[in-house]
């Protein structure tokens, strides 16, 4: 039997896409579809979960299972599905408000679990779908279009937060550099453990500060060439090594410190690429396996529980021990 090769068209739906023209979300959507094609993942084995926001509509445009959940709650929904059936490929996506504002508690606490899934934040500095309020990644004092006053709050640094929370793969990408973004997403999916990608996603409608032009280098003079220089640069181009090789405490400390330092760069030079990757230590699914040895082969979602309507579970031995 010759198995069919999936093309990118297989990962598209016919649902009308209603993002604004030029929205950075398109790049992320396309990249995800490209990675699915590259990896030839069977559509039914993938499930994309999303929060609420412009970003939250993503699953409707991708022809794999799509669960568009509640504002801020994408992670627990995704975890529930993944742990009920660890054989699913689970990707979670959502806005910066979704993930780091209302969802910050789940963001921090999923870090304690190192579950084998990928979480992508569409980081546009605003609450898009509610018309441009400041999101938690917008910096103090910045006044985007819809704000009556400059932003009164400091920003969250998603890379540093992910690190401290315990994510084991942490990256940043830029939604108009699709090739790079696609590679990063693939690495994240292939990472064994909990992966996070902060995607810089210009919102042409509401974020008039961090625009496509700004990232491309508007007003950012290279002191040597005296030409405008892209603000975004790639970590891999500077021989940055994100990988924890040995897994010693010292090495981990070092790699974390370097990642945090890098994550504080902004303005003229904004690093993208993989900041940190650590595959030492057990993932959550393995921790469950240490309690339930056949967890992966016989996960909760697939267990046989009845035969002709009769429960096959026996409670006798438990009753005896009561």
């Amino acid at each position: 039997m010759v198995s069919k090769r999936f093309t990118i068209a297989d990962y598209k739906t016919s649902v009308h896409n209603d993002w604004c023209p030029g929205c950075g979300d398109f790049g992320i959507l396309n990249s995800i579809q490209m990675v699915l094609t590259e990896m030839q993942l069977p559509n039914h084995k993938v499930a994309i979960f999303s929060g609420i926001g412009c970003s939250g509509k993503t699953p409707h445009y991708i022809n794999v299972n799509g669960i568009h959940t509640l504002h801020g709650r994408v992670l627990p929904y995704a975890i529930g599905a993944k742990l009920a059936n660890p054989n699913l490929e689970v990707i979670a996506v959502g806005g910066d408000g979704d993930g780091l504002g209302i969802g910050a508690g789940h963001f921090v606490n999923i870090g304690r679990r190192n579950i084998d899934l990928t979480y992508i934040i569409f980081d546009n500095g605003v609450y898009g779908l509610t018309k441009g309020q400041a999101s938690p990644t917008l910096k103090l004092g910045i006044k985007t279009k819809s704000l009556p006053n400059p932003n009164i709050n400091q920003n969250i640094n998603p890379i540093a937060l992910a690190l401290v929370a315990g994510f084991t793969f942490i990256a940043r990408a830029y939604s108009y550099d699709i090739k790079h973004l696609k590679d990063v997403i693939r690495k994240a999916i292939e990472h064994k453990g909990l992966a996070f990608i902060d995607v810089l996603q210009p919102c042409p409608t509401y974020n008039d500060i961090y625009t496509r032009e700004w990232f491309a280098g508007e007003g950012n003079m290279d002191p040597t060439t005296m030409k405008e220089r892209s603000r975004v640069y790639k970590l891999e181009d500077e021989n940055y090594d994100p990988i924890v090789h040995e897994g010693s405490k010292e090495e981990i400390n070092l790699k974390m410190a370097q990642a945090i330092a890098k994550s504080n760069e902004w303005d003229n030079r904004i690093p993208i690429g993989v900041f940190y990757k650590n595959e030492h230590g057990y993932i959550y699914e393995e921790r469950i396996e240490s309690r339930i040895s056949d967890y992966k082969e016989n996960p909760p979602a697939l267990q046989k529980i009845e035969s002709n309507g009769i429960s096959i579970a026996s409670i006798k031995s438990i009753l005896q021990l009561l």
């Binding site: 559509n43 409707h60 509640l70 627990p76 993944k82 438990i318």
Partner: protein, 631 residues
Amino acid sequence: MNIINELSWVTGGPQGSGVDTSANIFARACYLAGLHIYGKREYHSNIKGEHSYFTIRVSNKTIRSHLDRIDMLVALDAETIFRHLSYVSKGASIIYDSSLNDKRLEDINTIGDVARRRIETFLKSKNKNSVKDMLDSVRDECSICSIPFNELLSQLAAERGESMLSRLTRVTNIMSVASSLALLDLDVKYIHDAIKSIFKSKTNVIALNIDAANKAYNYTKAKYDISKRFVSKSLDNLILLQGTQAAALGKISAGCRFQTYYPITPATDESEFLESNQIISNIDGTKGSLVVIQTEDEISAITMATGAAIAGARSSTSTSGPGFSLMAEGLSWAGMNEVPVVITLYQRAGPSTGLPTRHEQGDLLFAINAGHGEFPRAVIASGDVEEIYYDTIRAFNYAERYQMPVIHILDKALANSLVTCKVYDTSKIKIDRGLLIDSVNGDYKRFRLSDDGISTRVRLGTENGIFWNTGDEHDEYGHITEDPEMRDIMMEKRMKKLDTMLRDLSNEEKAIFYDNNSDKTIITWGSPKGAILDAISMLDNTFNMLQIKLLQPFPSSYISEVLSNTQMVIDVEMNYSAQLAKLIKLYTNKEVDYRIVKYNGRPISADELYYALSNIINGSKERRVVLRNGV
């Protein structure tokens, strides 16, 4: 004492000192002796030191509730005497530690202002002061058994070569239980077996406790008049367990394989029991397993459980009022996406943190209305520990059959009561997964329209069965729509399932009618069932009882039918505003004649209900009766 085959036994002491263990041992010993048990636990929201107590009612017949009346009081501290003496009945026995005699109320700092004033007034009125004084006042009517527990302990220490007496103080509790058994002339072997069963593999602890028990047993037998109180028969088909265990067992039998929880009293016990039994033996020799996840909060608990249900597992979460409040939004999403998820809601006294370890049924209307917008859900209530098991299984069947969230509403009285109950008959139960399908042919639409509102459902990962969910209004595929026509169609599709459910269910699943051919009917839901049935039988069955099990969708026509044949309706429930009576009014047009309510955080006892019902029989005009018993 005579052979009256009935006993209401109470032991009290500081929280964390072993009150719980000793009550469990006493209950188990009596159970092993072939007796029926109804045990009720009362404690503060505190880890150590505040007053806690346990009432164990024992009988040779089926019993379903506790009594306020105390027939045997076991006091290991003075506080127990001060707090409970007024409930002691004529002819009761009081077992206490003789070293407590001189203790006075002012020595006890764990009694709060209000209780203190109440006790002070009592003491003054009787001119009493110390523990001894108090006991003197009842010496004519009761048999006071003072036991020198400390002395016995010293002897025990000496015999066992234990130099640190403090290591042994814990066993005082066991000794008091042994004394109780001695007074009842129950064989000491029952306490031995109970000790073994409670302490399982801890052989040292078992030996020590048995020694201690023997010592107290013998001392008591030697010193006090002993008379047989019970004649028992063997109880092969009874088990002794708590409500949270019944729910956990129900989940295992139901095939629930994913449970989330965030710790909260009194729900946590259920999840911990599940986690301790997470490997499941199947009758076909295979093994199953149950993944139990402690989440970071209850929002995560409901949403994670929902995610697992979407993946295809039978999935649930357990919580109490504050946690349930946080689940409202997730509930609404599950309703919108027709996800079968089960929420076991153990009510406790609110509002807010309320009396977190105490009793109430205050969340009925909230459970029925929680979550914004209108969506189908079922709310079912169990009346006792036996029902909990079967209803848990039903909850999952309903959830999958009608593809909606099901709230199984229980309360602290059911959660923590320790009762004998008929062994679960697993041949009685059926697993019905509804329209869950394993394979798909053709174009799959998760929300395909149908006459009864129900569509086929697949697990995530099913070939050809890709689907979408969204909290937005959606089309048959699960994609967002804002079309007004589609919206109407989908609202009607979802809401129709409630009618389908009402049509499907048998009367027994909707309500249980205990018909005593009376023209007066008591209506209730949940835990008051036991006290009502016991009180009715004390009143020569002069009332019928209608226990409503399906609260949402409300089975109007069946309930109307039953109530149409009755002259007087009396509502009994454990909340301030008589919430069930509101549903009865709303859905059957019947205004109940009497409301008997209780909201002081203590469950309804059979004896206080007996008095309240007697008053009604005697023509009392008070239409709303508030019960106020309890310590």
